[in-house]
Symmetry: C2
Subunit: 345 residues, 2 copies
Amino acid sequence: MSDKPSPSARVSLDDVALRAGVSTATVSRVLNGSASVRPSRREAVERACEELGYVINRAARTLASRRSMTIGAVVPTLATETFSRPLAAFQQQIHQSGYTMLLASSDFDPDTELKEVNKLVEYGIDALMLVGNSHHPRLWERITQQNIPCIQTFSVDARYPSVGYDNELAAGELTAHLLALGHKVFAVIVGTPPSNDRVSDRITGTRQALAAAGLTLDEANLINSAFTMNEAREAMFRLLDGPNPPTAVICGNDLLAFGAMRAASERYLRIPNDISITGFNDYEYAEHLEHPLTTMRVELDRIGEVAADYLLATLNGETAPVQTLLKPELIVRGSTGSAPRAAKG
Amino acid sequence: MSDKPSPSARVSLDDVALRAGVSTATVSRVLNGSASVRPSRREAVERACEELGYVINRAARTLASRRSMTIGAVVPTLATETFSRPLAAFQQQIHQSGYTMLLASSDFDPDTELKEVNKLVEYGIDALMLVGNSHHPRLWERITQQNIPCIQTFSVDARYPSVGYDNELAAGELTAHLLALGHKVFAVIVGTPPSNDRVSDRITGTRQALAAAGLTLDEANLINSAFTMNEAREAMFRLLDGPNPPTAVICGNDLLAFGAMRAASERYLRIPNDISITGFNDYEYAEHLEHPLTTMRVELDRIGEVAADYLLATLNGETAPVQTLLKPELIVRGSTGSAPRAAKG
DNA sequence: ATGAAAGCGCTAACAC
DNA sequence: GTGTTAGCGCTTTCAT
């Protein structure tokens, strides 16, 4: 009754076994809910655990069982809704199956990503979630060698399990929308390094659509280092002051679009009369902005869910769809309109 | 030269030792950079690791060394900037010291939080970050019993290490600002359950400021279940249609404030002429909203940094400030103004 | 500076 | 149904 767990000696499974008057194997069985254990003994074990304040040692369990019950996830950064939202969904899902998440971020750098993945592998992750399909050449090598179920998110990739959408196509659709409105001078504001396959696919998509219309994207009108809203805003100022001011601006996400719109407004440009601006993702606030944003709606949560489901199924030896192609939806709102007729003054 | 790591047998430290012609102890020393090992042997070990494609088994290391090199973090949810941003900073910081983050979320539920913490303890986390100061009664018991360095964030708490700000004070300041503008009828829109100490402290702060001015917060004007922008928007509609329509609305964060403003605008209420609205956190977009938001600026990243620094220092046996009180700053913008003179029509 | 060997705390055969 | 026992792969005295 009065024996509080002593703060010094960490109680182990042996202690529990001793106290319950059973073998360690029986304790282990009770802990794992496996095999049938006589109810009286089961209770004795449970009581002993309770009284001793027993905490299982997962490192030992992992070592002995060769399963860690952890799943790794590596995202470029946590500091944007784009990744934190699917991650939240992912985590919730794996949790329901008893897994814990080991999280790392790559900061958009393939070398860092590889290092982080290696570390996660050292920790014995049972499965892994990645973002994008462009990684360090040795990354997949390591994963397959270790035989770890893994899924890529945000981009589709015929070579590996993946859930995402066709970025090229999505950008093409967005561009076509703008083209149909008569725009001729485009600009792109995105926020990530060249290693980012999603961004480069989108740029490709835009370029192709443009080319099909006999247009090109002026190199000076491609800004690829805007991460925050304010950076997008400043990028927009530069575009407006540049050699070839656009009438249509395609932004990497809704936050960047918001920044771009602000800059336009501050220059007394009317949206969409003077300039059209598009976003990506359809964040919750997109429709509520001063100029409701035309954007591509992406099921961010769904990405995390599907990724988790795939991994969980694979871990259970079940089969799951290896490729899931999500279809973003073009949402046309007030931030885009017909290209201005007059030549710029 | 040609012996690719065989995909079957996982190579262990013994294999490396064998190949390098040294003992396992020496390999371990090289791996840990500890003790002095003769350069020639060190090289031999490194080469063997490389050739064999050796990956250390952290479960084994953790078991033997009693340190996991992981740090746990439990946040209410990942799906909001409020927590994902400090978490990003936290993670980056602990990473630089070689730690990996084990992440769990409580979904604002103390029971869930306790369960998650227990699980993290099972995994052998070396330290722990928590949000808030109101937990399951047995939570701190477990942590102290296991002797795990731990810090609470967002709220300050004299009993335990913590980094945060005085929510009561902050809310009081915000309320005072509104009071000074002549407002008499207040409303509060927040998004979390009663177990959330930050929210309840803020409500208390507002109530006290109100009381000091001889006013009270109408129960009908306290909405505490708005999480998303749209929920805040709907909450606002209800307030406006309620028995006691407010002229001043205090929101739990900038996103909720955004939603509230939208609802007001949709009802053709002028901001701030007819109604004043405040946020919290000063998200990047707050100043760029159609009605620039009056809010409290909180150093979200700083919270994560300080928490990490404290834990890291403690882990190193150094001393670090146990209490860090951050001071939010009132940022007055266009979303607040003098209370309307006329009685409502 | 290096090796031998004893664990760390658990699981999983295998016997009974 | 239950106990015995041999590891899992590493770190860490303790000798040398």
